[in-house]
């Protein structure tokens, strides 16, 4: 019934050496003990209130005890509130996790830093009733028109004389307006000046800019749609977006919906800039990285953000009627989202896409110099994306590839160094490819001891998922995993002699258990040894 049962009293009695406490005494003591406890707590709460706190500390209990002329309890004093843990299996039983401390450790530990001395700092909480947006004040929540706030309050009180204010037309101070005008002028006219760099820095660090964010986002969206021809302007706008995203004092979330379309436009627009010489590729790369950073930062809040983005990009990528520039943007955008996205979305389509791309790249089939150049850019982007993806795989399972790649490396080292940038000669290169591929597959299949070793190792790795492995495998549960690994292993053993066709390998690229060697081989088939440059670092580490 009561909080302190008689058993508690008996236990306490035993602990202080009274073995035979009669039940009656315990029964009589229990309620009194509870009453005294409550009394102490009541006094302790008073002490807490007078120390202007809302959390009860051991000090308060000590003060309460001394109020009642009781010896305080020693050994519980601590500056911080105690951390209670819930006892497992009980709803309202808590305890303090009191760890054993080794005295030797305490003695040997270096002296702790002396606590900082207390001090006072002053700031303006409000100036004529308006809270200035400075770091010392609580961050302003998303801007709510002040009139709305008032209205809701007025609604609650009835029958009171209410002074109705007209809705506030703008809440921008004159200084902020000037600032906005200055920045927009810089963006539009002098984006190459040093001053603009300063402005970007200011946008990225200033704490009082929150009221301007809606204006900026509107301005950016407006300018992007209006001046797709003006590459420097677009670049400047994207830089402004980056600065705004960087600013820790700005709550940018509510304006993302306005900024995202502008950024995506800068990735996949058909034409950016009006001159041929304009380096719109760079802008696309920049915007792609920007979008990827937004996804990383706000992806957990808007879970469909990345989904919608990838869908848009994938549509651009898969539509053959779209221009090469758009394809390029889409590939870069997807690649920026990380190798796993590339593995899932790009690699399965890679072979078919390459078939489309190849004619565009060849001198004899595509006469238009411009178009061909674009195609080569796309090729470069694809190579880069696939290569990074492969690099990631290799990095995860470094041991798997070593024997085969070393062989590759040795046999092809000469060729690779010989052709740094001569992609134009790719027609002849393509002829070489089967031979090389054969060599590669021979390399894997021919050296039987290493391949058997790799497969067994692979199986072992799959059977006993290591932390790193389970970390990168969020989608598949472990139960599935073992099945998959067994089937994968058997499949691999079956196809140990002949290499699987590139298309199937690529289609299955998202599967973790796919042998990186096969992926490598298929990519090699598509890209030539350009792909090797992505494995090089691992090789280096191996040699080291």
């Amino acid at each position: 019934m009561s909080i302190v049962p008689k058993e508690t009293i008996e236990v306490i009695a035993q602990s202080i050496g009274i073995a035979n406490l009669s039940t009656d005494v315990a029964l009589a003591l229990a309620p009194d003990v509870e009453y005294r406890l409550r009394e102490i707590m009541q006094e302790a709460i008073k002490c807490m209130r007078h120390s202007k706190r809302t959390v009860l500390t051991a000090d308060d209990v000590d003060s309460a005890l001394s109020l009642r002329n009781v010896e305080p309890l020693y050994g519980f004093a601590s500056g911080d509130p105690l951390r209670f843990k819930r006892a497992v299996g009980h709803k309202d039983l808590f305890y303090i996790d009191d760890k054993d401390v080794d005295l030797k450790d305490v003695i040997n530990a270096p002296l702790p830093k002396a606590p900082l001395d207390s001090g006072v700092v002053a700031h303006w909480l409000a100036i004529e009733g308006v809270q200035p947006a400075i770091p010392e004040n609580a961050p302003v929540e998303a801007i709510v028109a002040p009139s709305e706030n008032k209205r809701s309050e007025h609604g609650k009180e009835d029958g009171l004389p209410v002074d109705i204010k007209l809705p506030v037309k703008h809440v921008l101070s004159r200084e902020l307006q000037l600032y906005f005008d200055k920045i927009t002028e810089l963006i539009v006219s002098r984006s190459d000046s040093i001053l603009f760099k300063e402005a970007l820095e200011s946008l990225a660090t200033d704490s009082g800019l929150h009221p301007l964010v809606p204006y900026f986002s509107y301005f950016i969206a407006d300018e992007v749609t209006r001046s797709l021809n003006d590459l420097p302007l677009l670049f400047a706008l994207m830089r402004v977006v980056r600065s705004l995203l960087r600013n820790p004092h700005i709550h940018i979330e509510p304006y993302l919906h306005q900024l995202m379309p502008s950024m995506i436009t800068c990735i996949v627009a058909k034409r950016l800039g009006h001159r041929i010489a304009d380096n719109h590729w760079e802008l696309r790369d920049f915007a792609a990285n920007l979008v990827a950073s937004v996804c990383r930062r706000f992806g957990h809040v808007y879970h469909n953000l990345q989904y919608r983005l990838t869908r848009t990009l994938l549509n651009a990528f898969l539509d053959p009627s779209k221009a090469m520039t758009q394809h390029y943007g889409a590939i870069q955008g997807l690649a920026a989202l990380g190798p796993s996205v590339v593995r899932v979305l790009i690699l399965p389509q890679l072979e078919t896409y390459m078939q489309l791309l190849e004619p565009e790249m060849q001198l004899e089939k595509q006469k238009n110099e411009m178009k061909r150049k674009e195609a080569w850019h796309v090729y470069g982007a694809l190579l880069c994306a696939a290569g990074k993806c492969l690099y990631e795989r290799v990095k995860l399972f470094p041991s798997l590839l070593h024997p085969p790649t070393r062989q590759f490396w040795r046999s092809n080292g000469r060729v690779a160094t010989k052709m740094p940038n001569k992609r134009k000669a790719s027609s002849s290169h393509l002829l070489q490819q089967p031979a090389l591929k054969k060599l590669a597959s021979d390399g894997t299949a021919g050296s039987i001891p290493p391949i058997s070793m790799t497969t067994s190792m692979q199986a072992a790795a799959d059977g006993f998922p290591t932390p790193s492995e389970s970390g990168i495998r969020p989608s598949s549960s472990t139960g599935q995993l073992s099945n998959e690994s067994i089937s994968g292993g058997s499949r691999k053993e079956k196809s140990g002699g002949k290499a699987p066709t590139p298309s199937t390998v690529l289609a299955q690229a998202w599967k973790e258990d796919l042998d990186a060697g096969h992926l490598m081989a298929s990519l090699f088939e598509l890209f030539g040894e350009g792909i090797f440059s992505f494995i090089q670092p691992v090789e280096m580490s191996f040699f080291l």
Binding site: D80, V121, H123, A126, E128
Partner: protein, 664 residues
């Protein structure tokens, strides 16, 4: 036949004369007689059976809940006192188990309005506790008064008679006084009495509240003189003479010449100022307040001080619901949870903090103000060596370790719970849990006097508005008045039923107000030491008090975040107002009394429009209290800094202070 008629006549007579108690007693007697006709055995068994409380109460409860809607809320009011007395009866008879079961069965009904009382009563586990606990004792000793309309009263009587529940009847007779009023039942909102069922006898409270309180301002105050100077220049010289009290005439004429220039300036400001209309109305309310003579001999003000006050008054910003104040916030950093209180001098130049390590520290903000800027420049370097995660503010004073930025006052032997600056900033008082009050000089940086008188921790100490006198309050349930030159208290105010937690002076220095853990606020006459008002209405411990400068209103804030606004002359609550979600640590009125600022543990400063709430009840008294609320003008959140102290300077700049606390 005859006897019945006689009985009826007697009843009619009693009812006509309003002898309710007699009537009830008579009925009870009759019932007893009639029931004694039944078997005595049954009755005696019934009397001792602890279950009868449970049965009778649950019957009464279900009856009350199923009664007519119009009268239900009145009848429900009866339940709570019956409930707690049933419980205490059971305890007194020694049926502990039954008492517990009973308590927990019906606890939910009353939790909403009486949670804190219930939490206390829950601890009663034996008859001796009833004697010991102050709340239980006062509940047992005093009768509760409940207002009922005539018909509900009849209903109740009928029910009790019909069901012959003597237990209930006994409890009701013993512990409840009914105040039966003719006509319609009172509105639901008007249940202040029910809320205030705290044991302090309400009759006494009512009696006390009938005493006269002269809440007017002091005669011949500086404000008044300034105002008069203002009106002087407007009026012709001749009229002036009768207004002036004779004794201050010479002084005034000297001053008049000095003020001439500034008065004109002030008038010009008025014309220019957008809130010109407001000024006029405000100044008029101040001058409307009646004047009273001081009961204490007041210290003499030096002319320099007076000049500086006049200067401040001239430069005062007029505040209203349209013109909100500027707030300067002093944040205590690196306090390691040990800051207990803070105080700001009237001009904001000095800030004191009382710590739980029994030290008192005073910062001179005028000196700190400049170096902080250079510190912000150094900050990156501080960041490099220190931990990069921590809040920026912490580094401001970091490099300054060698030289302390404050003056350390040591002398107390326990946590310092309160500190207060004298009106002109040259003295500082601090109170501590070592039951002493110490007087410090901010000029000499040393302790001057140690006042010993209280027997327990002194929770609060406050200088009077004129200086020299101060009031303190303590865990020993008393408040005391002191003067700086005596080491013994001048007055001891006793009467609160629990700790006295806060104290505040009235603007005219003739009264002090005290807030207590017994959930009441009392107003005491300083001269006689008598209690002249009891304000009942808070539901938890009163933590802060503020008096308006025109002397008519008082605000009090409690542990739950409720602020109550009281009219001193009537002793009634003008309006309760909710808005804060946690303890109100501090309250402050603006100088002309138009705004109330409140600081709370929920890390906000809120500004309330006081004029809105005060004017309505004055115009239509009958509709008052329930509908009007203080209007919340603005809530200003701080960065996880509970607000400990608020203070309006004489120029109406609001200073606030609090300790930065990191959320765990």
């Amino acid at each position: 036949m005859e006897e019945e008629e006689l009985q009826k006549a007697v009843y009619a007579y009693l009812r006509k004369k309003g002898f309710r108690q007699t009537e009830l007693a008579l009925q009870e007697e009759q019932n007893r007689l009639s029931s004694s006709a039944q078997s005595d055995l049954a009755v005696s068994r019934l009397d001792n059976d602890p279950a009868r409380y449970h049965d009778a109460y649950s019957k009464l409860r279900s009856w009350a809940y199923s009664s007519l809607d119009l009268y239900k809320h009145e009848l429900l009011r009866v339940l709570y006192p019956v409930y707690i007395h049933c419980f205490m009866d059971l305890v007194a008879e020694g049926h502990m188990q039954e008492a517990r079961t009973f308590f927990h069965t019906f606890r939910e009904d009353h939790e909403l309005t009486h949670l804190r009382d219930l939490q206390k009563l829950e601890g009663i586990l034996s008859p001796s506790h009833l004697e010991e606990m102050e709340l239980a004792r006062s509940l047992r000793q005093n009768k509760v008064k409940i207002k009922l309309c005539e018909y509900s009263y009849d209903l109740l009587l009928q029910y009790l008679q019909k069901t012959q529940s003597f237990t209930m009847l006994g409890i009701i007779n013993e512990h409840i006084n009914f105040e039966v009023s003719a006509g319609q039942p009172s509105s639901i909102s008007d249940d202040a009495d029910v809320v205030a069922l705290v044991g302090s006898s309400q009759d006494i409270a009512k009696h006390i509240n009938q005493k006269e309180v002269r809440w007017g301002l002091l005669e011949d105050s500086v404000e008044e003189r300034l105002e008069r100077a203002l009106s002087d220049s407007e009026k012709a010289e001749g009229e002036n003479k009768e207004v002036d009290p004779e004794d201050s005439k010479q002084k005034r004429s000297v001053e008049g010449a000095k003020q001439g220039v500034s008065v004109k300036k002030l008038k010009k400001d008025k014309l220019v100022g957008a809130t010109g209309k407001n000024i006029r109305s405000e100044t008029s309310t101040v001058s409307m307040a009646p004047r009273v003579k001081p009961e204490l001999t007041l210290p003499v003000m030096t002319t320099e001080v007076e000049q500086s006050i006049l200067e401040d008054l001239r430069n005062r910003v007029q505040l209203s619901s349209l013109a909100l104040p500027s707030i300067s916030f002093y944040t205590f950093i690196n306090t390691h949870n040990s800051l207990n209180c803070s105080s700001i001098s009237h001009d904001g130049s000095l800030v004191a903090g009382g710590f739980s390590d029994s030290s008192l520290k005073v910062w001179d903000m005028a000196k700190i103000g400049r170096p902080t800027k250079t510190f912000t420049e150094q900050q990156p370097s501080a960041n490099l060596q220190g931990e990069s995660e921590s809040v920026q503010n912490e580094h401001l004073l970091g490099p300054e370790e060698r030289k302390r930025s404050y003056t350390l006052f040591q002398g107390h032997a326990g946590p310092v719970y309160s500190a207060t600056f004298s009106p002109f900033g040259d003295f500082l008082l601090s109170s501590s849990s070592d039951s002493t009050i110490r007087l410090w000089s901010t000029k000499l940086n040393s302790n001057l006097v140690c006042y010993k008188g209280h027997n327990y921790p002194v929770w609060d100490v406050q200088f009077s508005p004129v200086g020299h006198y101060f009031a303190s309050c303590s865990h020993d349930r008393t408040a005391r008045i002191w003067s700086m030159d005596r080491i013994q208290p001048l007055r001891i105010m006793a009467g609160h039923l629990s700790d006295v937690d806060c104290v505040q002076w009235h603007a005219n220095c003739n009264y002090i107000a005290t807030g207590s853990s017994d959930k009441t606020v009392r107003l005491w006459d300083v001269q006689s030491g008598e209690c002249v008002r009891v304000f009942i209405g808070h539901r938890s411990m009163v933590l802060s008090l503020a008096m308006s400068l025109d002397g008519r209103y008082m605000a009090s804030g409690d542990e739950d975040g409720t602020i109550m606004m009281w009219d001193l002359s009537s002793g009634r609550c003008v309006s309760p107002l909710m808005g804060h979600s946690s303890c109100i640590w501090t309250l402050a009125f603006s100088c002309e009394g138009t705004l109330l600022a409140s600081g709370s543990a929920d890390c906000t400063v809120k500004l309330w429009d006081v004029t809105a709430s005060m004017k309505v009840p004055r115009m239509e008294e009958n509709k008052a209290s329930s509908t009007n609320r203080l209007r919340l003008l603005k809530a200003l959140p701080t960065k996880s800094t509970p607000v400990y102290t608020l203070r309006f300077s004489r120029r109406n700049l609001l200073f606030a202070a609090g300790a930065l606390s990191k959320q765990v």
